[in-house]
Symmetry: D2
Subunit: 504 residues, 4 copies
């Protein structure tokens, strides 16, 4: 059952945003950063009036927006300026492409988390010639002060109904017909597809950020109902590598410290799953003096773990002795109640993997166990004999809930999105059919190259002779475009899986 096609539901029947968020979040980590860090800088004013009922005017005299409090725009501007400092690639893109205005005529409607980093993206798109309207892909994540700085609709804590109303405001406005979509989760695409089929047909391209949204696009494509070329930027290599390996390497430390102040040195840690996320967690903890072992189901990853210096064990073999348990498998019930029963007093349990399925949290919601919330995002679950297990973020993603994502990583995502929009908007018609595409390898490499300046890194250029010897173009791409194949192969496995339950 293909959601885009079959879904006939009304607003109130949609799955709650919370549930859907965590699904998308598991891969598209960068798109949800705002939960932890930004939240603290946003106002907690007591104004309970719905923005839909307010009349506000911005500094240019316009009323074409719907935000919590337009007066916060100045504060929002400051947050944007801070973000700009770590997004030099995007600024550099602005400067390089500013003259040609490659997005002149583009009318982009965007539906992503509304954060300072997103604002830098929007302002980049505008400086390249585009007009933009923006709405929030998540009801909890909007930085209200940033939302106050640009045209669009959305606020932190909006209702489900508000959510769809805001999307609608950005699509259906007099004198405005979008011709490009930038989406994170597929809700905007869904809305246009269902409610405005005529607008949908005239869209020149969709850029989709999240694994959920990509999945929904593939379903549509498989059903022969995707009439627009779409670009899957979730699977671009720079994003994958940064979001998983490198960011997790840093955020596992940050998340544990902010919640528990635990000392890493000497701690016995078991990391479940040795994929990219697990590799990042293991590397960081080992580097800080923890004694780390891993669990794996795949012998090849297990063998890599061995060579990297980690004992490969079954969780049940070590569960009695370890100080910290971190799940990074993408699987469900990796930590079971039976294992929770056997943990030692003070054991910390948390999840860096997929959604909130990895730890069987539900199994601890039983009468004999006492839950004590000791800090924000930290529960002590207390056994009858007094043993305490320290559960973080109720088993949801630790780095989403309890740490931040560096602006630099968000810059990679935003730059990739901008390039994908430029590519789809400017490509000759013959280049992209009505299908889902990966970003061409060369543009992936271009995103990377724009970010090298941050590190003062100097690329070597091939001589003519060397390029000929290697059979490469001097300007790249330097690696083959095999990721499309990769995706196909991966998708084939996922369609057999129940981890993407029928969304309708």
């Amino acid at each position: 059952q293909i959601q885009f096609v079959e879904d006939k539901q009304e607003f109130s029947k949609f799955p709650t945003k919370t549930g859907r968020r965590s699904l998308s979040r598991s891969i598209s980590q960068s798109s949800t950063d705002s939960y932890s860090s930004a939240a603290s800088y946003t106002d907690s004013s007591d104004d309970e009036t719905s923005p839909r009922d307010k009349t506000q005017v911005n500094s240019r005299g316009s009323t074409d927006f719907c935000v919590k409090n337009i007066k916060q725009a100045e504060f929002g501007r400051r947050e944007i300026e801070i973000a700009v400092q770590d997004m030099s690639a995007l600024i550099s893109l602005r400067k390089r492409a500013q003259g040609e205005k490659p997005l002149a005529g583009a009318k982009i409607v965007g539906c992503t988390h509304i954060t300072a980093q997103t604002a830098v993206l929007i302002e980049t798109l505008v400086s390249l010639g585009a007009q933009c309207r923006w709405t929030a892909c998540n009801i909890y994540s909007t930085q209200n002060e940033v939302a106050a700085t640009h045209r669009g609709a959305g606020w932190r804590g909006e209702s489900e109904d508000d959510f769809w109303w805001c999307i609608d405001q950005c699509v259906n406005t007099e004198g405005w017909q979008p011709n490009m979509i930038l989406d994170d989760g597929g809700d905007l695409t869904h809305w246009v597809y269902k409610k405005y089929p005529n607008v949908f047909k005239k869209i020149r391209g969709i850029v989709e950020e999240s694994v959920t949204g990509v999945h929904r696009l593939y379903q549509l494509s498989k059903a022969g109902k995707l009439c627009v070329p779409a670009m899957n930027v979730n699977d671009s290599v720079t994003k994958q590598k940064f979001d998983n390996l490198y960011c997790c390497r840093e955020s596992i430390l940050d998340g544990l410290k902010r919640t528990t102040d635990v000392m890493f040195g000497g701690k016995q840690v078991v990391v479940c799953g040795y994929g990219e996320v697990g590799k990042g967690c293991c590397a960081a903890l080992k580097a800080l003096g923890s004694v780390v072992c891993i669990t794996e189901i795949d012998p090849i990853c297990a063998l890599q773990g061995c060579m990297d210096g980690f004992r490969v064990v079954k969780l049940s073999e070590v569960v009695r002795h370890v100080d910290v348990i971190i799940t990074c498998t993408g699987n469900k019930n990796v930590v079971t109640r039976e294992q929770l029963d056997r943990m030692k007093n003070g054991c910390i349990v948390c999840n860096m993997g997929h959604s909130n399925t990895e730890i069987d949290v539900a199994s601890m919601r039983t009468p004999e166990l006492t839950w004590e919330r000791v800090r924000s995002q930290v529960d002590h679950v207390i056994w009858p004999d007094g043993k305490r297990v320290i559960l973080l973020a109720e088993g949801r993603l630790l780095n989403l809930s309890c740490s931040t994502v560096p602006t630099f990583v968000l810059s990679i995502t935003a730059t990739t999105q901008a390039l994908a929009l430029i590519e789809l908007y400017n490509a000759p018609e013959s280049r992209y059919k009505q299908d889902v595409y990966l970003l061409p390898k060369k543009m992936d490499e271009y995103v990377a190259s724009l970010h090298l300046a941050t590190f003062d890194a100097h690329l070597t250029e091939l001589s003519d002779e060397q390029a000929k010897y290697l059979g490469l173009n001097k300007n790249g791409p330097f690696k083959p475009n095999y990721y499309r194949y990769y995706w196909s192969a991966r998708l084939e496995m996922q369609f057999n899986s129940s981890s993407f339950p029928p969304l309708a």
Copy 2:
């Protein structure tokens, strides 16, 4: 021009083995370990009589072999016993499959480096039911004492003519018609294809180890002349990962120490190329206190280097100051004469990458520079002002020439070869066409799993519920078979390249 098809040359017209060896070696590192370590344990007896002119009898009274000195068999046996200690996966395979004799009836002719580890492979094949005849794929690499322990032909230092004669001895013997080929470099396959087309047609499968041999098979396949299924084991993931990342991580240290006794701590090192080989070299040297920077042409690899903590520079920017330069690019003339001129006194230059092309050694063969051989594999090249550049292995592969490959890695290769032979010999006819295949992902995983015992690693098994959730079979494969696609994409680029010059 496809070599297998067009080549009409006679023995003497073949490219010299030396040239070809280094080509194949660049990827199939494991197959050439014998150069350094084993060499020292081999006899240096003065017997100049050609083995072809000798009559020797082994302990079982047979004369069906042609080796340097049959009396060394006992010494060879001891070397084999040492090797067995680190090849427990192969022994384990022996035990598991011994009862079924999956190779009963197989007549395998092999052409690989003849080393103690190869002998363990041969004896494994025999214990699984096969008959074997073996010959050397390289005129310099045979461990004579090991060759004395089994049926076949080859000796260290044989001539080109001897080389092809030995191959012929193993293919064309009365009462013996091979039905399986295990090759390393493609020379045996070529010989059978050209000289014994009738034998070739009856072959049930070819297993090829080297990148050169695989390339030649693809050429044959593309020309529609491959009438036998072939298995490319060079690209199996366990082999790639171990040969490149992990082995280079260890062998860069070993190679530098054995040649120069250099202290790593505090040394300024530039590693050219940040692929798997470069990553291994960088990790090891950084871990031992060197200050490492890298050069790259590919912005994605460069960005990885940045995140891993290495400065990305152009060689020319740092060449005046660094203590050690290591090439790992697969490219040519990465270190030029102009750069060599600018190096400081005592700079060490060596190659861990491809063939012997990376350092422009030829450019230093000029009258104004004096070459002084100070140790085996170590030359001081002396400039007119007295400056010395320390060149290792004359720019050939450092780890081939100056360090050893752990038996454990060779065990992975040998186990993969054995499984590929079993698979091709036993597969239903419909499974493999007349094409080049990668080892099925599941068998790749099986090779890995056989090696986990060495590390006392315990795999976690999926529950039924988890397998269903992930859409996986509980016994694997756990990753998709996308490598075939990968190979195709890679090949496409390589065909445009001049690094595989026309072999005919």
Copy 3:
């Protein structure tokens, strides 16, 4: 001029607590953890009545205390329980010594930071037989809810006058005459010495925690006016090693993340000073992918830095290019205005070393620079051309201000304090003269051994034969008592220094 002796000042003339705190804090990091972490869990109730003016009754019906709000005792109890989980060494000491009650008869007056960890110490002392009264050594650091759980006086935000009043309350109470002092900073000792000379003479021992307090004791001793044996626990080896190397290794990461969310990977960092603190910072940042270089004045430390893989540079050589500057020198004006002028936009500057002297913050308080407080503890200092330098904690200690100290480290400090009290209280009179002592090596080792259980570490025991061979007692000490000499040598240098300005 010796402060204890000459000081005639009244309350109001004392240096402000703030100024003094930072001095003591620079070494005794553990004693001030409460600033950052604990602060957030303490009430921010609006009750403005001074505790001195309130009448409160605790759950046992007593009024013998003076705290902010006795009703918070239950909340305080929970914080103590959390702390107990990471202080198993202290609990273990309780159990081992409980039977003998080695502190029976001891009347201990304590003046330290009042935190949950301190409460665990107090309760340990009580369970070993002591009576205790406690007061705060710092006007800002008290966890009010913890203060509510025990007998004593002090609250967060008390005035200077309150500070001395609270001390006086703990010393001079009807029916209570202290015979042991546990001090952190020397203020309590000073008070007793000056105001109650008769009490002072009957004290059986002083245990001093901070470098400032130790310095003041040595001054007294040098002047021949110390009539009580004192124990310097600041310089015990477990404390030094943990407070400096290991804690800084973790807190540099924590402090930077909590304030700036900076990504460590690829960042260019300069660490000024390669002592234990610098070594910890460098190790952590290198491990997370930063490119780290160091500055040093001492060639031996510089050579260690080289061998550990860090470039040794002058700050002025790299100041234009680096992303982060961290001072760990113990020196003053290590970062000057001239260097601040040359930093690049977005450079982060912070201090992990001594006091608040290392960065010349005062030099930036000039009209042409704009200060913008962007977050708590984070200032953007903006140059006329728009360049921003990001200054953390206004140049005060980053880990004091912006990160937390693990309870495990505080456990080491508290255990050492408890053992020092036991030793001084029980030692035969002849053992300690009226002088300042280091904890005997054997007790230092005992503190370490009590903490090994946390790591499930198993010590090896010497056989009789081995002990004889090594000339050691089987139960230790395993290292010589040379630290006394060390201290003397160090002190000699410090007396020539102006970093301990005349306190009077």
Copy 4:
């Protein structure tokens, strides 16, 4: 019993050099490098004539020397030139002090290992004005080709009688009366003290390299019979740090690879002892992917091990499972026969610690065990059931026997020796009494500073204001001279030990 005083033995009664060597070697690692590396470059000519019976003339027409073969001088010169490349500190010292000739008039007799690095030292001393005569401190370590390049006596493989004869030749020659001694082991000092008491009295200073020699000097001093100032350079901090931590970090890898070609990745290793040597071994192996645990007797070192990420275990707990066992304790019988019996097949056992006492090798010399020498320095000890334990260097020091010491480390030693000679020769009479001294801290720092150029390291200089603030002289010393105290404390413990058995 003080050896220098009581010893009445004749030549033949001395302990064999082999035994004594290993004792001195355990700390003075650098002085014995020649065993492994240099050995291979030395001639193995068959000339059996004793050098004492030959008449040879050098290129300057002199016969005042006694070496194996004067014709090798040219080869020796080349080895010296190679060494010079890594000894830039010594060359720099030459240049700085050449003008003043601070050793003018010095007649130095030296007794150390005769290697290329020693030759660079000798030539440095000569260029500073000294006359030198040199002899070997070890009967096996002389590089004959280097010995041929300077005035002195000694050859590889000389007898005990030759040994003392060579010493005598250097002390007692017509027209030559030494006034300075540079010794390694104390044999030369002993000889002069006993045989030429009148010469001894006129000596202006003794510089001693080894722990054994230093111990003997302290004995003499304690007995009141040392009539000459002596300098203990063994305990200078640069030498200690480099010889133990940093060198072992590199040589453990080198030694294991050269002997066994073992792959480090994934290996389970136990390191016995976590002092500086153990720390170096652990760091290197962990960095290369081994799973390392440690054993310790001292709880403080154990706690450091915990924080550094190593499990602390008893050997007996893990001995059944580990792949490699490395002893670094300084103790005896750390690995017992009972434990050897329990090791698994293929376990590698080696010693990086003290002498040859750590592994109870003698216990394996029993009839039921078979010893098989499989390579140089590698024995398989075979149990009746076929189990093999791989013993390296028969339990002697692995890095002495099977790896090399970088020239850079020897440069530190040699520079320290040179400075000590200069200091003793030039110091005003009042500065040094008839006692054993450590090198003044400032000179230790000067040695370090001379070596910084190798790493292009730039020291920061204190401003006047900063120096005053810290109470330091701008030119150092930067650390106190507390090592003298340290040594006294350490010595106290050692005198109770049996590890320095009565030498007489």
